[in-house]
Amino acid sequence: MSLGVSGEMPAAITQSAVSANDFSLQVATANGSGSQTANNVLMRAIFRMGIPVSGKNLFPSNIQGLPTWFTIRASGAGYIARKREIDVLILMNPDTAAADVRDVRPGAVVICEKKLGVEKLRDDLTFYPVPFSELVMKVTAGSELAKLRKLIVNMIYVGVAAELMGIETAEVGEAIRRQLKGKTKAIEFNLGAFHLGLDYSQKTFPEKSPYRVERMNATAGKIILDGNNAAAIGCLFAGATVCTWYPITPSSSLCESFIDHCETHRKDPETGKMNVAIVQAEDEIAAIGMVIGAGWAGARSFTATSGPGISLMSEFIGLGYYTEVPSVIIDVQRTGPSTGLPTRTMQGDVLFVYTNSHGDTRHPVLFPSSPEECYLMAQQAFDLAEQLQTPVFVLSDLDLGMNNWMSDPFPYPEGAITRGKVLSAEDVERLKGDWGRYRDVEGDGIPYRTVPGTPHPLAAYFTRGSGHNESGVYSEKPEDYVRNVDRLKRKFETARTLVPGPVFEDRPRAVAGVLAYGTSHWGTVEARDRLSKEFGVELDYCRLTALPAPPSFRDWMQRHDRIFVVEQNRDGQLATILKDEYPEFATRFVSVLQYNGLPLDATTVVNGVLDAQPAPGRKER
């Protein structure tokens, strides 16, 4: 198996001239080989040289021994989507060597273990064979470092790559020091290994790589992090006080990050007690049950999971919807159905989540595209959940949640948090107890609630997932049922006005619109630029950030006779929702899909658009 280009790329969109700061570098290793540190150092060194980067780890669902690819994309133009074409390959894994070499683009650079002998495989590549195993033996023979060989060899390829590509030694050194914060010994031998590779390359390869970096100034002040950590930080600053979870890739690290942050920031300095409750539940059913119980009792509660977890949670999500309990569910999507490809990405839960649970249900869903939006939308989700008194989903995915993204530092949240319509004991007294848990007082469909423990004899109410009237009293009366579910629908219309709105970007002479959401944003914006530059095809852009969409979204669709909907799933799940909700536009949607488990690349979108959109500049394949 391999992850490279499939070889059928149209010639017209292959890159002709090689320029600096524009390449995709892939490191092929086996997992468990400890290459993570080295790869991060490479990425961060380039980042520290001021060049926009992204780092994507394509890993197996396994702990040790199966192939792993880490891809670093450097782009002076700021494109950080996965690039389908590999320009530089660092080949360390004998198991995938032949396929990896086969799949790189013509003209690519291959840094490889010499004894693999892959140079014979192709004559249109530049090979830099390095005797990694000999080099590492030389420095570790007979020393206490022997058991660290596996790790040291990784830093040797960093040295070779840095020297061939012009990555500054000082920045690599700084990246190593930051990566290994304070571990003096480790820093020392990693620096040693790095220089070993550097020296070897200097002496051996007079001809440098055509793919090179040149210092620029596009990353000053920026940070690098994954979306899961960003969402965890969002939950921390949103004042979330209950977190429940059941481990599942790719969402586990979100809760683990939250735990770490809470240890530092949620321990009361005076009492030493925790201002948070975190429970690793026995399964996802219990996790969501606890979230709903806690939300009912007034806490800001959330869980993070992935598709299989959502499947298990469905009954409870219906309960949360029908009993109107604030709760936040962060779904870090992975490739389904079933166990699917557990360590690969997909926008596969959109349809399932939006109408999750039996009966008529609809839930607000937020689509973050970047770590900053993970941070912001985590906070918005809690506000919305309390304002709307309902479960709110944040739909991230493995690409966003677990990969490395550049970001501006996050803004500190302004103002108080939104608690929504909550009656205090004084309010209940003022109303002389004349209130109904499911009464629509303002006409926005959102009722008032009291929080358990409110000290007033008339504050309490009974919450039930069975039919109920406006006072929460059991009722099977047809008119009570209809009034209640119609109000819920009204409430959902209110949600439309409260969720974050789409981001529009129109262009003069646009021939159609393109619509994307979540991580599909990155490949789409790059494709849009390429379509413009290479084919003269101009597209207006709408990035949908939430469902249900506000009225401005309808207006945008109204203006476009053809709308490309870019998604990372087989069935065009968002398009399906849109066709259902906007039947008058149903014939305008053209799906552009990628569903191979890999993050969306621009080439897929370019091809998908060109397939449907006549482009005079397009050469025949």
Partner: protein, 346 residues
């Protein structure tokens, strides 16, 4: 004719009448064991003088799970989904540990669909009175066997149960539950004492209460019928409970007694009746439970009690404050904290 002075209604230590602890009118079958337990719950909370607004009631789905609606109208109730009451209760109690939690479940709700959550609730020692209204059948779905039906018991139509019963009490002791009791809805005195003690207990108090289903499982051949339970009940001891706010211990006649004191000063006094049983001895509890199952005995009483065991909020090192009442500045770290996190990511 002389005017009669209306006697002041009897009130508890809060000045509340018993009617302040009642709930909606029951819609269960006339004579259902569950209704008897409901009445005992009303009495226990009244006698213990628990503020109704501090009580949170939880249940799953079933006839038994409907009952929280029939007691403590002034308290909060959450009737959730089938078998998942434990997780709802866990979340709510963590969110506000000052609430007094009571969960009512059925044998189907607990021993079949909900056994996973049940076991994990016990393991976590979530502060909750957990009552299983055990009738050996699924009442609400019209009388199928549940997993607590005894081997060889029959349904009304003669169908024989050929699988062994799940013993919820053994399971509870095994999983570290520190308050495990078995009772019978027909033994009101014992049930009342156990309920009051359960209110005083700070962790999970499991009450497996045989509660006959008069409609589907009260016939000859049932081992969960009124008659069977009455004929076979064998109390391990007599239980006297004295809450911390009363000082009536001296009135309980001495004899072969063992006192267990709760952290708040409440005392459970056990009078042995016949057998020598120490409810604070976990090994003995397990041995007696195993033995009684072999012998098909119906032992009742508090099988195991360890009031000092730390409960989940303590294990998590949590604050005493209800989480939604913590001021924002304590749950939203300052800007400097965000800056520090950002700096670490450069």
């Amino acid at each position: 004719m002389s005017a009669t002075v209306p006697s002041a209604p009897k009130t508890n230590r809060l000045g509340l009448a018993k009617s302040d602890y009642e709930g909606a009118k029951s819609t269960l079958c006339l004579g259902c064991g569950h209704d008897v337990i409901t009445k005992q719950i009303v009495t226990a909370f009244y006698e213990m003088g628990v503020e109704p607004h501090r009580v949170a009631k939880f249940s799953g789905i079933g006839c038994s799970s409907k009952t929280p609606n029939y007691f403590l109208n002034r308290s909060w109730g959450f009737n959730g989904v089938h078998g998942r009451m434990p997780s709802l209760a866990t979340g709510a109690i963590l969110a506000n540990r000052s609430l007094v939690g009571i969960g009512v479940s059925g044998d189907g709700d607990t021993a079949s669909i909900g056994i996973g959550q049940f076991m994990h609730l016990l393991r976590r020692n979530v502060p909750l009175i957990y009552i299983v209204e055990n009738n050996g059948v699924y009442g609400l779905t019209k009388g199928q066997f549940s997993a607590t039906a005894d081997l060889g018991a029959t349904l009304k139509d003669g169908t024989v149960n050929d699988l062994p019963a799940v013993d919820l009490c053994s399971l509870a002791v095994e999983l570290g539950c520190a308050f495990v009791a078995r009772s019978f809805s027909g033994d009101m005195k014992q049930l009342q004492a156990i309920l009051q003690a359960a209110i005083a207990h700070k962790g999970t108090a499991l009450l497996d209460v045989i509660s006959p289903c008069v409609t589907f499982n009260d016939h000859e051949g049932s081992t969960k019928s009124y008659k069977y339970a009455k004929d076979h009940e064998e109390p391990l001891h007599e239980i006297g409970f004295v809450p911390f706010f009363e000082d009536t211990l001296a009135e309980i006649p001495p004899g072969e007694v063992k006192d267990v004191t709760f952290p708040d000063g409440s005392v459970v006094r056990f009078h042995s009746v016949g057998r020598d049983y120490d409810p604070t001895n976990r090994e003995q509890a397990l041995a007696v439970l195993h033995e009684s199952r072999q012998k098909k005995e119906f032992l009742t009483g508090i099988l195991y009690l360890a009031p000092e065991q730390p409960s989940l909020p303590d294990v998590l090192g949590m604050t005493d404050e209800p989480l939604h009442q913590i001021p924002l500045e304590k749950v939203r770290p300052p800007k400097a904290a965000l800056d520090a996190i950002m700096e670490s990511l450069r």
